[in-house]
Symmetry: D4
Subunit: 146 residues, 8 copies
C-alpha cells in the first residue's frame, strides 16, 4: 500500500525536503506532492501563461487560477495532507488547503510551533493531529505503517 501525501504550506523555505528525507530514512511507502516551490514562478505563472495583466491584483488572480488548479489536481489524489504553519507569512492559502482536506475527509496533520497555538486553535481542533516538528509528523506517518 503506497500512500500519496500532499504537503501544504509556505514555499519560501525547503521544509518539504526534511519531510522527504526523514520519510525516506524510514522507508515509508509514500509519495509526496505539493505546490510549485519556486516562489517567483508560482507568483508569475499566470502572466507566464496568459501574458501581462493590468495590475497586481489581476496578476495574482491569474496565478491563482493556475496554482489552485494544480492544488486541486494533486489534493484530489492525496490520501493524507500535512500542513505546516510558521511564524512568517499570512499563510491563508495553507489554512485553506488544510480546511479543504478536512472537508474532503482526508486525514490531516498540522505542524506548528507551540507559540502559534492560539491563532491556530480552531483549525488544530478540527485537524486529526497537531504536532510541533516535522520529525513528529513523520513519526505519526510511520505509526500508520507499523
Amino acid at each position: 500500500m503506497n500512500l500519496t501525501i500532499y504537503l501544504a504550506g509556505e514555499i519560501h523555505s525547503n521544509w518539504r525536503e526534511e519531510v522527504k528525507v526523514l520519510s525516506n530514512n524510514l522507508s515509508l511507502p509514500v509519495t509526496f506532492v505539493g505546490p510549485m516551490e519556486d516562489h517567483d514562478r508560482s507568483d508569475n505563472i499566470g502572466e507566464e501563461i496568459l501574458g501581462t495583466m493590468p495590475n497586481p491584483i489581476f496578476k495574482d488572480s491569474a496565478a491563482s487560477d493556475m496554482n489552485n488548479f494544480r492544488t486541486k489536481v494533486l489534493l484530489n489524489k492525496a490520501d493524507i495532507v500535512i500542513a505546516l504553519f510558521g511564524e512568517k507569512y499570512k499563510q491563508w492559502n495553507t489554512a485553506m488547503d488544510a480546511s479543504t482536506a478536512i472537508a474532503l475527509d482526508k486525514p490531516l496533520i498540522i505542524i506548528r510551533p507551540e507559540k502559534l497555538h492560539h491563532p491556530l486553535k480552531e483549525l488544530s481542533n478540527k485537524a486529526n493531529v497537531t504536532v510541533e516538528t516535522i520529525e513528529q509528523a513523520v513519526h505519526v506517518l510511520s505509526y500508520v505503517f507499523e
Copy 2:
C-alpha cells in the same frame, strides 16, 4: 424567501453591526448568524464549562471544542457565508470557515482591503465574490433579491 447568512471573521471589532444595519436599511430578507463576539468569553468558554485546564494550549483546545461546535451548528444552517479579513490578527479560523463554506458548496463573499490581495489570492480565487468593503458585500446581497 429568507436567507441565513453566517458572518465569519475577527471578533475584536463590531463590523457585523455595519452589515446588519446596511442590510436592514435595504430591508433584505436575511437572518445573520455568527460566532460568539465577546472575545474573552470566546477564549474562556472551554474553562467556563469544563473547568480550569492545565495550560494555555489545553485551554484553547477546550474553547475550540465549544466554538467549533457552535460554528458547525450555525454554518450548517447558512445559505450564504461572508468572511471578512483585516490587517490585524492571524485569522486562520476565518480562512478555515471560508474554506469550509466553499467545500460545502455554500456561496461565499470575501471582504478584504486591497492591500491584502496578495496573501488572500488563492482563497479569493475560490470564493464566489471578493469585495473591499462591507457596503459592497451588502450590495452583492441585495443584488440577489432584485
Copy 3:
C-alpha cells in the same frame, strides 16, 4: 407543499412572465426564482459594485462573480429547474445551469423549439423532460400536483 422553481435561460425576452402567468392561472403552489432579467444591469453589475475594469474580459469576469453568486444562492434553494433554449444567443450559461441542475439531482425540464433538437440532443437526453413550449412545461408542472 410549495415548490421553488429556477428559470434558467436568456434574459433578453420576458419569457418568464408567460411561465408565471400560466402557472398562476392553474394556481400552482410554486415560487419562481431566476437571474437578473435586466440585461444591461446583469452585464454591468461587476463594475457597478467594484468599479471600472481594465477591459471587457475583466468586466465580464467581475459581472460573472456576481451573477454566478446569485445563481448559486437561488439554484441551491430550487426544487425544480426549467431551462429555456431559443435560436438566438449562445446560451452557454443556460446549458451550464441546466447541467448543474442535473448534477445536483434537481428535476429538470428543457424547453426548446423542435429545430434545435440536434445541438441539444445530449443535454435533452440527460434532462428529465424536454418540451417545445412554455405551455407544455407548465403542463408538466401541474401534472406533479394532480
Copy 4:
C-alpha cells in the same frame, strides 16, 4: 502518477491531436480520453445499434443514449477535464460536459478564443482556468508536474 484527461469539445476538427502531440513532446504522464471523433458515426450510433428510428429527433435521442453513456464512463475516470470552445457549432454538449466536470469537482481548463469571452463568461468564471490556445492549456498541464 499518471493522470487521465477527458477532452470535451466539437468533433469536427482534430484539435485533440494537437493536445496529444504537445503533451507528448513534454513527456507528460497523461492519458487522454474523449468522445467518438468520427462525427457521422457519433450521430448514427443509435441507429447503428438499435435500428432505424421514426424520425430525426428519435434518431438523435438514441445516439445520445450511446454517446452520453460513453461520456459518463470516461468522464468518471478522468482526473482533469479540458473543454474547447470555438466559433462554430452550438456546443451545448461541450458546455454540459464542462459543467458536469465542475459539479463533480474535477479540475477544468477551458480553451476559447478571446472573442468568445462574453457568451462564455459564466462558465469561464466557474472553471478553474481559462486559456485561449491549446498550447496554453498544455502549459497549464505541464505546470502540474513540475
Copy 5:
C-alpha cells in the same frame, strides 16, 4: 414535526386510501405524496403533453419522462418511503422507487404478502422494515411519533 411520506406501488387499486385513513385515525402528523393514480392518465401523459408518438415504446418513454419527473420531485421531498408489492403486475418501477429511497438514505418500509418473500428477499433485506399489511406499516409509522 410533520413528515412527508412517498407511497410507491401499483396504481391499479386504491391501497393508498387505506394508508391515509388509518394514519388519519391515529392523527399522525404526516403528509402523503405519490404517483398519478389514474392509470390511463399515467400511461398517456406523454402523448397528452407532447402529442402522438410513433409506437408504444416511444409512447411509454414519453410518459416515463413525465412520471419519473413527478416521482423525483416528490421523492426528493419525502422523509419516509413506503413501497407496496402485490401479486399482480411486474412492479419494476416500485422496486426502482424503493431502491432509490434506500440509496438516498430515506427510511423505507416494504409491504408485501408473505408468499412474495422469496422474490423480494434481497430488497427486503436492504429495506429498514418489511411488513405484510398496511395496518402494520401504519403501526410502524405511529411508533415513530410515540
Copy 6:
C-alpha cells in the same frame, strides 16, 4: 431559528427529562427527539407489530428493524446530537448513533462520567464536545444561541 436535537443513550433512566427541563429553564429554542423510552416496548415492538418470533435473536432483529427505522427518521431531522454514556449497559447502540451523527456531519456532544474517559477516548476524540454532566451539555447548547 429552532433546532432539533436527537438524544441518544440508554432508555433505562429518564435522563432526557433533565436535559429538557434545563433547556426549558433557559428558554432555548430547541425541540428534542429520541428513541422509544419505554424499555419493554422498545424490546417488544418487533413482536408487537409482526407477531411472535422463533427465538430471542429473531425477536431482537425484528425490534431493531422498527427501532432503527425510528432512529433514522428522527436522526435525519436532527441539527444536533447529544449522546450520553453511563457505567451500566453495553451501549453499543449509543456508540452507533453517535458515530452516525459524526459521519453525517451533525454536531455531536458526548456526555460521560470522567471514569469512562478511557474506553470512550476514540469516540470522544471525534465528537465535537465531550462533557461530564447534562448541565454542561445544556451550557454548550445555550452558548450556541448567545
Copy 7:
C-alpha cells in the same frame, strides 16, 4: 484502461457467458463480476454459513445478507453495470441492482426483450441505454473503447 462491469440479472440461465464470449471476441479490456450463479447455492448460502433457519423467510433473509454483501462489494468496484431482464421470474433484485447503479451514478445498460417495454418503462427511462439483445449491449461497450 480496464473497466469492471457488474452483470445483474437472473441466475437461472448462463446469459453471462454470452456477454463474456462476445466481449472477448472483440478483445474488450473489461473484467466481469456478478452474483453467485449457482442458484441453489445462492438460496442456501445463509444456512450454509449460519445453520438451519426456523422457516423459509428467515432462510431467505440469511441468504440475502450474504448475497447483498457480495453484491455491494462487487458493485462498489464496478465502472459499468449491465442489467438483463427476461420474461421469467420476478427479478425485483435485478431492478434493485439496476436502480442502485443509477443512484451511484454508475453507467447502466438495460437488456430487455421488446415485449417487456411497458413494465420496464420507468427504469429504462432512467437507465443510460436500453437494448434488446446481449449483442447490442456488447456493441455499446465496444463503442466506449473506439
Copy 8:
C-alpha cells in the same frame, strides 16, 4: 481483483491472526489492515510523539489523535470492514469503526458470540452480515470470490 479489509476490534488478543490464516488457506486475494495491535504502544503513542500529558484524560486524547488518524487513513482504503465483538472490554471504538463503515457505505461483517445478540442488536441490524465465528466471517469473504 484484490480487496483491502479493515479488521476492527479489540487489540488484547490476536484474533486477527486467525482471520489471516484462514483467508490464506483459501488463497483469498485480500490484504488486511487494522489498528496498532500492541496495546501499550496504542495507549502511549500520544505521549510517545508529543511528550508527557498533564493527566490520563489528556494522555488518552493525544493517543486518540494518532490512533484515529491511523484508522481514518486505513479505513478510507478499505473495501470491506470486519468488526469483532467479544465479552470483555467496552469496545465503543469498535462500535464506532463499524458504524463509520456503514455510514461510508463499506460492506460490514460483524462477528459476535450469540450471547451478545441483545446489546448488539441495533448495530447487527444495520450491518450487512452478522456471524458468530471468524470461520464464518472468512466463509462469507470467500463466497464473494466464488
